[in-house]
């Protein structure tokens, strides 16, 4: 230490080591975020998951095949027959453009990856980006240590994994990255006051608008924060630079996205931002005037302006309210309204309520999705108040609002997850620093002098302790890192100037044993979190939902690949222009996998059309045949889980068909299907229920499988066992009966007498059942 040159070199070297080390930690966090999402590929296969991703995949295929201009003008005639759908103007193009660009770059580099592969791996790649963005955001709020912890937490938070496993090619996959990155740039601008970051912020916001409808969260949260800053007297020019360009540029850019268009200035979701935009200008003006005028003059001016301003404001407000009130939904879209009033959807829009991810979450789902973070968040909030800065107040506001929204819709748990990670990262990092500091102090106290602070000799041991603590921390957040790394870290980590440590040492000191114990507990907590996350990634969230697996009692794996079996059959063995009717859940999959025209799909934009299909499904056979025939439908596809116990089948969704159908066509009355307020398919069921098309298509010849027709989902015997179909014929049923496809019979010749036919059919059916009872072989066990 004697030589100043040496000392300087040592510190720069340490800084360099620190930077390299945090770079490598970040790299490993990215790798972790990527790899933890590959369980689905390893356990199942590299395939697109669920419903919406299939649509995105299809759009991406179209984009890569036909180019960007055709994509904007794409009118899709294979869906919503006979209406069609303007895809280019109704999708958020961010995800598809991103994947399309990645594919295009790879292919121009002669790396011939298929579009599907690119789509499958887009989500894991963007979750690595998202964890890096979290690092940046938290670093702006509370320093690099908290940043690294938060990034590691986000890399494996189950809530985010559930939406971004490999194959889950959905908007949220890139949108969460865009969300966090926009927040980071906002905070960065707020901290630096740089117009450069403000512009970048507007661009990041544009990307977010391109990717997800959740951008309204940003455009409401940031004004709220700005308002909070103004109210608490934290107005500064930095705040102005952070906010005003975002609103101006952001709104202009958002209006460029076709799906948003003029909504960016016309709908109520965006009003808050404009209101705050006006307020911030007023405030800026007031501050300016205050600078010019003497205090006395200023007071006079204030009274004058306030009295005039109040009148004008009242007038404007009245006009505004009148305008908004004149529109039926008060200018708010249904989904947003159900956010503000959680009971709105179930009261007025059954189609929104029918989606399971629009339901409010249950308590266990919080524990499942964010696990121990739920307990760390309060500690993080407290840490944010010591001391409260602009940035930390933003994070607090973020967590508070997102907790509310996640309480309204399960899906918005995804917005809560990054906030929870940031908060928990701050909490963990702060508590570790408190504990390690206490240990440092105590160790020093044990080593000898009790009088005054010691010199260099002991400070180096303190630093070593500090490093050890840090190493432990990083170890617990990213478990798989080998212990070699932590050793290297000890060498490398930058020890803060010893002086600083000394100052801090005087603050808050906990007993030595207590802090050791607390660190152990925190490590344990982190370990528990990691174990839970890996379990969630491997078991709970990696199933692609088009391939199902179950373990038989002897441990063997059984695969249910019925959906793809059915779609493959449709795509190979029906005519290209045949129309397939099914409940809207399977629309996207049918168009993407089977390439057949569907009547309704998961983009539920036309309630009447969906109600028509719902009505057909809940009507008796003949009426249903007429509805389907008028829609030019040739095949009807139903999903039936009664044989193997697959719970999310069409019978369980049937109440929504009745409800949505009945909402538009009053002759479908829900009470007709209910017995004691319940949908039943057993012998207690109503005759309307037992005669509706959905019942018949699901249970056609089901009784012959086991002789009594025991439905394993509903755990009852079915009510009506032996019946014939007159207007439909079974053309395909998959291996486990999960998908059944029926064909509409051509209209019958009128000359053929009706009296003879049914009788002969009846006798033949009874003989057949007898025979099957005689052979008594059940092939499903």
């Amino acid at each position: 230490m004697a030589d100043p040159e040496n000392a300087k070199e040592a510190t720069t070297l340490r800084y360099a080591f620190g930077n390299v080390l945090s770079f490598f930690i970040l790299l490993l966090i990215g790798v972790l975020a990527f790899w933890i999402r590959l369980f689905s590929v390893i356990k199942y296969e590299s395939v697109i998951h669920e419903f919406d991703p299939y649509f995105n995949y299809r759009v991406t295929q179209f984009l890569t095949k036909n180019g960007i201009y055709d994509f904007w003008n794409w009118f899709d005639d294979r869906t919503w027959y006979p209406l069609g759908r303007v895809i280019g103007g109704t999708v958020y193009p961010g995800l598809t453009l991103t994947a399309g660009t990645i594919w295009w770059i790879l292919n121009s580099l002669n790396i011939p990856l298929s579009v599907e592969t690119v789509c499958v791996f887009t989500a894991p790649i963007f979750s690595a980006f998202a964890s890096w963005a979290t690092y940046l955001l938290t670093k702006e709020v509370k320093g690099a240590g908290a940043g690294l912890t938060a990034a590691a937490l986000l890399a494996m938070v189950p809530s985010y994994i559930s939406r971004s496993v490999a194959g889950s090619y959905d908007n949220e996959a890139v949108a969460i990255f865009a969300l966090i990155f926009t927040f980071y740039l906002y905070i960065k601008t707020l901290n630096t006051g740089s117009l450069f970051y403000a512009t970048l912020n507007a661009l990041a916001y544009f990307y977010m608008v391109c990717s997800w409808g959740g951008y309204t969260f940003i455009i409401n949260l940031i004004p709220m924060h700005v308002l909070l800053c103004i109210v608490t007297g934290r107005y500064s020019s930095r705040l102005y630079i952070a906010y005003a360009p975002l609103v101006v540029l952001g709104t202009l850019l958002a209006a460029l996205v076709p799906v948003v268009g003029f909504n960016a200035v016309m709908t109520s979701e965006h009003f808050a931002s404009f209101l705050v935009f006006i307020i911030i200008h007023v405030v800026a003006f007031v501050y300016y005037i205050k600078g010019i005028l003497s205090p006395k003059m200023f007071k006079v001016a204030v009274t004058l302006v306030v009295s005039v301003g109040l009148v004008v404001c009242c007038a404007v407000m009245a006009i505004l309210i009148a305008l908004v009130a004149s529109s039926p939904t008060k200018g708010w879209s249904g989904r947003s309204l159900s956010l503000l009033d959680p009971t709105y959807a179930s009261k007025y829009i059954p189609i929104i309520a029918s989606v399971s991810e629009h339901q409010p979450p249950t308590w266990p789902s919080y524990f499942m999705d964010i696990n121990v973070l739920a307990f760390l968040v309060p500690a993080g909030i407290i840490a944010c108040f010591l001391p409260l800065s602009d940035a930390s107040s933003f994070v607090v506001l973020y967590i508070v609002t997102s907790v509310y929204f996640s309480g309204v819709m399960v899906r918005l748990m995804l917005v809560l997850a990054p906030a929870a990670c940031v908060m928990s990262g701050i909490a963990l990092s702060e508590s570790f620093s408190v504990f390690t500091r206490s240990i440092k102090f105590q160790l020093h106290g044990l080593s000898g002098s009790s009088q005054v602070d010691s010199g260099d000799a002991s400070s180096s041991t303190v630093v070593a302790q500090n490093d050890a603590g840090k190493a432990e921390k990083t170890e617990d957040t990213a478990k798989e890192r080998p212990s070699k790394k932590s050793k290297k870290k000890e060498k490398g980590i930058v020890d803060k100037p010893s002086l600083k440590a000394k100052i801090e040492r005087r603050l808050l000191v906990l007993p030595f044993e207590a802090s050791i114990f607390a660190i152990l507990l925190l490590v344990l907590l982190g370990a528990f979190y990691v174990v839970h996350c890996v379990w969630a990634a491997a078991e709970a969230y990696s199933a692609p939902s088009i391939v199902l697996t179950s373990y038989s009692h002897d441990g063997g794996l059984h695969v249910f690949d019925d959906f793809r079996e059915a779609y493959a059959w449709l795509s190979h063995n029906t005519e290209v222009d045949d129309k397939v009717a099914s409940w809207w859940d399977y629309g996207y999959q049918t168009t993407a996998m089977a390439n057949r025209t569907v009547i309704v799909d998961n983009n539920t934009w036309n309630n009447t059309h969906i109600a028509t299909v719902g009505t057909a499904m809940s009507s008796p056979e003949k009426a249903a045949w007429e509805i389907f025939n008028s829609l030019d439908v040739k095949y009807v596809l139903v999903v039936f889980g009664g044989l193997v116990g697959y719970p999310s089948d069409d019978i369980n969704k049937f109440l929504w068909m009745v409800r949505i159908g009945g909402g538009v066509f009053p002759h479908i009355k829900e009470p007709d299907y209910l017995r004691d307020g319940q949908y039943r398919i057993d012998s207690q069921a109503t005759p309307t229920m037992l005669n509706c098309l959905m019942y018949k298509l699901s249970y056609y010849r089901f009784v012959e499988t086991d002789g009594r027709g025991f439905d394993r989902v509903r755990q009852t015997e079915i009510g009506k066992k032996n019946f014939k179909l007159t207007h439909f014929e079974e053309v395909f049923t998959t291996h486990h009966w999960m998908v059944r496809i029926y064909k509409l019979k051509p209209p019958r010749n009128r000359i053929r007498g009706k009296t003879k036919k049914p009788r002969s059919q009846k006798t033949s059916s009874t003989t057949r059942t007898k025979r099957s009872a005689a052979t008594k072989r059940n092939p499903w066990h």
Binding site: V47, N110, G455, P497, L499, D561, W569, E730, P779
Partner: protein, 609 residues
């Protein structure tokens, strides 16, 4: 059907009446065996050819009905001399011939003999003809419960432009029901084999219609298109990818498909369905994948014993149903690539490894490594060929691809073909070298970027300000480090004082003081130019007061320390009591602590800037 038969009869009567005898050959004995056990009809005929006339005959004509039968494979082998075993078969070239005067309903092939037949010579000739699409399902549409019945038509007599002295025919059918067959004289039936003949002394173009209607439950799998891509990598791997597009061309299925009945009694309700395909892969194939448009068939590889691959389609295939899938496998290079006179040649099988599969249109693409030259192909039968190129990983100009196309392929075509080419071993290293150099340049670019100043203007005010600011920061850091060292020296003094209180060694304490004094003086000397610089530079105007304050405070602290030190040393020299010392030191001590706190705060403040 009846019309056809009558028409045929008519044609042949005319033919028999009108055509002259083509040559003086006589078939002294014809033995025909028709194998109908699968969708591929194989007719093996053993002909004993005798030259009854004068003059040499160098070709033998074979006639087939052209309107009904589609010949997909024809091979003639000869066994020279009599009494020999069949081991020495030589295949003879077969060509389509159109001699005049032949009835239009016949397609005539001519076999060129390797040695012309002299007068009275005889030779025996084996002819294998393979037909597909000749078994007509009848009825054409069946339900799931029905069995599949097919019709086979041929002539009971050997259809030939030559007179036949003696002929016999046996038809082998699958072990199942025979619905009906044409009964003419000398017809016998043994289990699943029908024998016709022997018939003697038949005229040229003798014809007697023969129809067999029987049950067959073999799959009628026809690949409408098969694209085989064979990619050769000189790093030790041959990757074969086969894209199948298969249709069941048996009797069309109509009416309901009931999974219930199919599962309950699969062999009765669905006997004609294709349940699986069997592919025989080369012995050392590995990394086998089976996939399709909607993902991999993960659970469909049922058994992989002796490289026999059992492929189950996603659904049982009934008549008229289609499916498509991909098989991919890797083969070790050394089994298929050989070197000959400096050139390499690839020796690999032509058709599909799937058993009993008829291929309507086969495209074989052989992708050779980039840089292969002088390509030439040798195939055992004529194929259409062209060349294209394919760009894949790390390619610049693209890999040469040889495309071989052949319509109508049967398992008999599954023979080896060769592709000769030359390839420089060094070009194998090109791709790794490209990768290495790519990364090398990336790192070089990074290094250059870090070391080169890329700011646009070197004279702009902001740039100069930045430079100045950097300098100021550097100086401030130096100042800080010096101050830190001063503080460290203070601590040393403190330590020495502590030692003094413990041991009482005044002398040692004094020496420490001396060295500390020296050090501190040096430090203050070092500080001077730095402070001067800071005072002179305008960029440091903001921070200067703080720095100056820091230095002043430090100096004061230093003085206090010295005072404290001298007091204590004094006290020790006067041998005063501990209480006394503390009393004297106390004011100094308080000041020291306060000053130290201030210095540290200042340091931290400056640090943050």
């Amino acid at each position: 059907m009846g019309f056809w038969l009558r028409f045929n009869l008519l044609v042949f009567t005319i033919a028999i009446l009108s055509t002259p005898v083509l040559s003086d050959l006589i078939l002294s004995k014809v033995d025909r065996r028709i194998d109908l056990t699968s969708q591929i009809v194989r007719i093996t005929s053993t002909l004993k050819v005798e030259n009854a006339g004068s003059g040499l005959v160098s070709e033998v004509l074979l006639a087939f009905q052209s309107f009904r039968l589609k010949i997909w494979y024809l091979m003639a082998t000869t066994n020279e001399g009599k009494g020999k075993t069949k081991s020495a078969g030589v295949s003879l070239p077969v060509e389509i011939a159109n001699p005049k005067g032949m009835p239009p309903a016949l397609t005539v092939y001519s076999v060129s003999l390797s040695k012309a037949l002299g007068e009275g010579d005889t030779m025996s000739l084996d002819v294998l003809a393979v037909f597909t699409h000749t078994l007509k399902p009848f009825p054409e549409k069946i339900t799931q419960a029905d069995i599949q019945l097919v019709l086979f038509q041929d002539s009971a007599y050997y259809l030939s432009p030559y007179a036949v002295k003696f002929q016999s025919l046996s038809i082998k059918l699958p072990d199942a029901r025979i619905e009906s067959y044409t009964k003419i004289e000398n017809t016998k039936i043994h289990g699943s084999e029908i024998k016709y003949g022997p018939y003697e002394n038949l005229h040229p173009f003798s014809y007697s219609p023969l129809v067999v209607h029987f049950e067959i439950n073999q799959p009628f799998a026809v690949a409408q298109e098969l694209v085989r891509e064979i990619e050769v990598s000189h790093w030790g791997n041959v990757q074969v990818t086969e894209h199948y597009n298969i249709v069941h061309e048996g009797a069309k299925s109509e009416g309901e498909f009931s999974r219930l009945e199919y599962q309950a009694r699969p062999h009765i309700r669905g006997s004609s369905a294709i349940r699986h395909f069997v592919a025989k892969l080369p012995p050392r194939a590995h990394s086998i994948i089976i996939g399709m448009k909607l993902g991999i068939y993960q659970h469909l590889i049922c058994g992989l014993i002796l490289k026999e691959l059992l492929i189950e389609p996603r659904y049982p295939m009934f008549g008229g149903w289609r499916t498509a899938f991909i098989i991919g496998y890797s083969l070790p290079l050394q089994d298929f690539l050989f070197e000959l006179e400096g050139k390499r040649f690839l020796n690999i099988s032509f058709a599909s490894p799937i058993n009993d599969l008829v291929i309507d249109n086969l495209v074989v693409k052989v992708v050779l490594p980039e840089g292969s030259r002088d390509l030439s192909v040798s195939t055992p039968f004529p194929v259409k060929q062209r060349q294209e190129s394919k760009i894949s990983h790390l390619d610049v100009v693209g890999r040469p691809v040889i495309v071989l196309e052949k319509a109508d392929v049967v398992p008999e075509h599954n023979q080896y073909f060769q592709i000769h080419y030359s390839f420089n071993k060094l070009s194998m290293l090109r791709e790794p070298f490209m990768l290495i150099s790519g990364f090398f340049f990336l790192f070089v670019a990074c290094i250059v970027y870090v070391h080169v100043d890329l700011s646009i203007s070197k004279s702009s005010a902001s740039y100069l300000a930045k430079l100045q600011w950097d300098e100021v920061r550097a100086t401030i850091q130096q100042v800080e480090s010096i101050i830190n060292q001063c503080l460290a020296t203070h601590e040393k003094i403190e330590a020495s004082l502590r030692d003094l209180s413990r041991i009482g060694d005044v002398q040692a304490c004094k020496t420490t003081r001396k060295t500390a004094d020296g050090l501190l003086k040096e430090h203050s000397k070092e500080l001077k130019p730095l402070l001067a610089f800071l005072q002179s530079s305008p960029a440091a105007a903001n921070i200067l007061p703080k720095v100056e304050e820091l230095v002043a405070k430090e100096r004061e602290l230093q003085e206090r320390w010295m005072a404290k030190h001298s007091i204590i040393v004094d006290c020790y020299e006067k041998k005063l009591g501990g209480r006394e010392i503390e009393n004297r030191v106390a004011p100094q001590q308080q000041k020291v602590v306060a000053l130290r706190q201030e210095v540290e705060d200042l340091l931290e403040y400056i640090d943050e800037i």
